[in-house]
């Protein structure tokens, strides 16, 4: 089908027919973005930085050895860090201007880390109580990132096979609802977890059916599915769940499994070894999906289907069947992520409980360049911003909490416009395959 022509699902600047026209903005994008960010950092974190000291607690009470809190002078470190940012951006600019080279791969990563640290010091330094617990901040970020990670993994699975998945939000919501309902009826949260995966897979199957069998535009199906799941869960919540919340909407929580000794390691202990089943599953899923996609025959076939379905078909790979099962699997993964809302975070379902995290997951997938590990770290970044927002409201900083909430979305816009320009989605992403 000629969706290629009519719905430019993924722009591919590199492949443009007029390199002279399009090459320039593509290669200038990253240095210019970095430069803008560095200047912003210099003005706000440096010149207008707070004068006090920022205090970061590292250890929490239960750790088996205590580390001293880190105290940094906010103004000085803001200056130093923003000058480093300026230097990095300048280096990228010089590389582009003089040698027409792309900056090395580590540069954006280092830039991001330094930027986040400078930002953190600036926020905490200017707060009424300039002290936060770093351990709590990171642990909270990981917790908030769990559904986003699952959602972005779902996106990776679908889009690597060439199906755009805008319906992540619907899969999360469907998973959350089903988990709550089934766990309440069976009095077993693990049954709820399983049911959530099934529900996510069912939502995904509708996406697969319409986009693969009926060749409906995948973005349309995704958008509509989100509305459909939102309406269905909202309707059933009002009619079924609220008629008897005791019976239908009290799923109980999945227990937090504390691995002795290991969970007492400062900072990383609570993150890695003090999670619910869903939390542990997240780490497993990230690693398994990464290995499966990039180190196995199956993964090679999936990626072939996503990059060049004609070639894959020629070699005997069943393109549409591969896509169908990949999308279904993706839905199951997102469904498990959805169960986090009702089985771990809160022990009941409410309307729209996923609150747009499916869309953040989509952004995390893109920021992570369609790679499970990248998506994981991008999701962590969003979880971090989400968590920081609630902490900021507590410690009382000059930054309005609404701007903190806005941050992940702004970062994503910057990313898709500037930083992600070099990576590209799977070539056949969003293009239905019709043998012919």
């Amino acid at each position: 089908m000629s969706t290629t022509a009519t719905s430019p699902v993924k722009p591919q600047p590199e492949e443009s027919h007029t390199p002279a026209q399009s090459a320039k903005p593509v290669t200038w994008k990253l240095p210019v973005t970095l430069a803008v960010l560095a200047v912003v950092a210099f003005i706000f974190f440096g010149l207008l930085g707070p004068q006090g000291t920022a205090k970061f607690g590292v250890s929490s009470g239960g750790d088996f050895f205590q580390l001293p809190a880190i105290e940094v002078p906010a103004f000085l470190s803001g200056m130093v860090l923003s000058v480093i940012l300026l230097g990095l951006a300048g280096y990228a600019l010089v590389l582009k201007a003089n040698r027409n080279q792309r900056p090395p791969r580590w540069l954006p990563v280092v830039f991001t880390v330094v930027f986040v640290v400078a930002f953190l010091i600036w926020v905490v330094g200017g707060a009424r109580t300039p002290s936060i617990s770093l351990a709590g901040l990171i642990a909270g970020s990981v917790t908030l990132a769990v559904p986003i990670v699952f959602g972005s993994l779902s996106g990776v699975l679908c889009e690597r096979a060439g199906v755009v998945n805008i319906a992540i939000e619907g899969q999360l919501l469907g998973g959350a609802f089903t988990a709550a309902l089934v766990a309440s009826l069976t009095h077993n949260p693990y049954a709820g977890l399983l049911a959530a995966a099934v529900a996510g897979a069912l939502v995904s199957m509708v996406l697969a059916l319409f986009s693969i069998k009926y060749v409906v535009n995948q973005i349309i199906v995704g958008v509509v599915l989100n509305v459909l799941v939102s309406g269905l869960t909202g309707f059933l919540f009002s009619t079924v769940m609220q008629s008897d919340p005791e019976k239908y909407n009290s799923p109980g929580r999945l227990p937090i499994i504390d691995i002795p000794v290991l969970s007492s390691i400062p900072v990383i202990g609570p993150i890695l070894f003090k999670q619910s089943v869903v939390g542990y599953l997240m780490y497993v899923a990230v690693i398994v999906i990464w290995i499966a996609l990039f180190k196995t025959k199956w993964g090679l076939r999936v990626r072939a289907v996503g990059e060049h379905p004609q070639a894959a078909d020629t070699l005997g790979i069943k393109v549409n069947a591969t896509r169908f099962w990949n999308v279904t699997l993706g839905g199951a993964v997102a469904g498990i992520g959805g169960s986090f809302f009702t089985l771990v975070a809160i022990d009941s379902f409410t309307k729209e409980i996923s609150g747009g995290r499916g869309f953040i997951a989509l952004a995390a997938m893109i920021l992570g360049r369609w790679n499970p590990i990248g998506a994981f770290f991008a999701a962590l970044l969003f979880g971090f911003a989400d968590n920081l927002q609630s902490i900021v409201t507590i410690i009382g900083t000059p930054v309005p909490s609404q701007f903190m909430a806005m941050l992940p979305y702004l970062v994503t816009v910057f990313a898709v416009a500037g930083l992600v320009g070099r990576s590209r989605p799977p070539a056949a992403d969003g293009i239905p395959y019709v043998k012919g």
Partner: protein, 466 residues
């Protein structure tokens, strides 16, 4: 640019490999033909010679202008009967859902085999009573006081349809240029912010004030949409992602502003703005008993404008050309980045009109629920309207009726409003997949007679899947 581009147009699309597979199914026009379909990339609604159509998209028919075979057209169009059947099917499924969760149905199901008639009656009455209440709340209420009261629901429908239509037009226009504008929500919010500020902070003479409110709102939406266009055109950022992100950015900006002295009503602790000046709000159309305001007339005007833009103007032709095949459009000398920016700006402006209708018409204040879910509903409205201006208008009226009726339905029968979301999304899903609807209603024998559009497509697809 009528004469000059002709040869280049045909030359540009000829080597394009994609339309080739569609040339294999040229017989699909007779089935899929439809009045609204004529608005495709054919003759700019008759303004241009039919030969301006890319050769590869022409079929052998003489006389009547043929529609292009671009996929967006196929997705957003279908034949009229499929639309009606899709609505019917969605309503039936929605009714089943209502019946399934109904208490009387549940109890009668307990003795289903003893007295099945009880069960069937309960199912029927549960579904129909909800829909009757929906109709009474949306169109005509026989229990209303006097003629005015009886038609009050219809007026409410038109009021709610106003922002749906204008925002839907914005989404539809972008669709026609091949862009998925998911950002109507954010554009409505930005328009609401600017329009309401002009409305309550400035105190200007009657007439001028409303005009300025209108301009501020449209500009707010247009800028918010235009930024997306610029990002798309200059950096290749995908508009779906950018518009989704911009929705959230606009929402948090609104929440922030409602927290500041600039926007928060003095003496209020809740996030709500002062009431707009009387000189800044739309006059009511039929007196104070209805909420219907002049914004509805503007929505009609906007529909005419979009129709003119798409079918009678050079810019609109460029939009459709870009939507049909950006590469071909580029080769034909169309400035694709400019068209992208322009179409997103106009789309944002149209959504902005919806924001103005909200703050200066229906609500008269700015709250963080100013856009409600109009921006997202606008997408389904545009899809249901098959991205044609009048189709969008009709779809906006239908969904406005659903919205207005749902409130009444919830009061009378206790059926939650969410059922409307289910029905709406099912309608769009079914319309997008005509073969499915035909299969459900047993209309598929057609495919044996002729290699028709949906059928041949379906056959090809299942062939690919097998």
């Amino acid at each position: 640019m009528t004469e000059n581009t002709e040869p280049r147009h045909s030359a540009a699309t000829d080597p394009d490999p994609i339309p080739a597979d569609q040339a294999t199914a040229p017989e699909l026009e007779p089935l899929e033909d439809d009045e609204a379909f004529v608005t495709s990339l054919d003759t700019a609604g008759g303004a241009m010679q039919p030969s301006a159509v890319p050769v590869s998209t022409q079929s052998g028919h003489l006389g009547a202008p043929e529609e292009s075979e671009s996929v967006l057209r196929k997705i957003f169009t279908g034949n009229g009967m499929v639309t009606i059947l899709a609505v019917l099917l969605a309503l039936i499924l929605g009714g089943l859902l209502i019946a399934l969760t109904d208490k009387v149905v549940g109890t009668t199901a307990g003795y289903l085999f003893a007295r099945p008639s009880d069960f069937l009656t309960a199912v029927w009455s549960a579904a129909t009573s909800s829909y009757v209440a929906l109709f009474q709340g949306a169109v005509f209420n026989p229990h209303g006081t006097g003629v005015a009261g009886q038609f009050a629901p219809l007026m409410e429908t038109l009021t709610i349809a106003t922002p749906l239509i204008t925002a839907g037009l914005g989404v539809a226009l972008a669709f026609r240029a091949g862009l998925f504008n998911i950002g109507a929500q954010g554009q409505i919010i930005m328009a609401g912010i600017l329009a309401s500020w002009v409305g309550f902070a400035l105190h200007l003479p009657v007439g001028l004030h409303l005009l300025l409110v209108l301009v501020a709102g449209v500009v707010g939406g247009a800028v918010w949409g235009g930024i997306v266009g610029v990002l798309k055109a200059r950096t290749g950022a995908h508009e779906v992602i950018v518009t989704i992100m911009f929705n959230y950015i606009a929402l948090y900006l609104l929440r922030y502003l409602l927290d500041t002295d600039l926007f928060q009503r003095p003496g209020e602790s809740t996030p709500i703005s002062p009431i707009l000046d009387p000189s800044a709000v739309y006059p009511l159309l039929f007196g104070s008993q209805y909420r219907l305001h002049v914004g509805f007339l503007l929505a009609i005007a906007a529909t005419v404008f979009v129709w003119w833009l798409l079918n009678r103007s050079t810019i609109g032709f460029e939009f459709r050309a870009v939507g049909a095949n950006p590469k071909a459009a580029l080769t034909a000398g169309i400035n694709v980045p400019r068209a992208t920016i322009l179409v997103m700006t106009i789309a944002g402006g149209l959504a902005g009109l919806a924001g103005v209708a909200q703050v200066a018409g229906t609500e008269k204040v700015l709250t963080d629920g100013v856009a409600a879910t109009y921006g997202f509903d606008a997408i389904t409205v545009a899809l249901l309207g098959r991205s044609s201006p009048w189709g969008t208008f009709a779809a906006g009226l239908l969904f406005g009726a659903f919205r207005a009726g749902a409130v009444q339905m919830q009061i009378q029968t206790g059926t939650p409003i969410d059922i409307v979301l289910v029905v709406q999304s099912l309608i769009v899903l079914f319309i997008a997949a005509p073969p499915l609807v035909r299969a459900i209603f047993g209309l598929n024998p057609r495919k044996k007679k002729t290699a028709t559009a949906g059928a041949s497509k379906q056959a090809a697809t299942t062939g690919g899947a097998a």
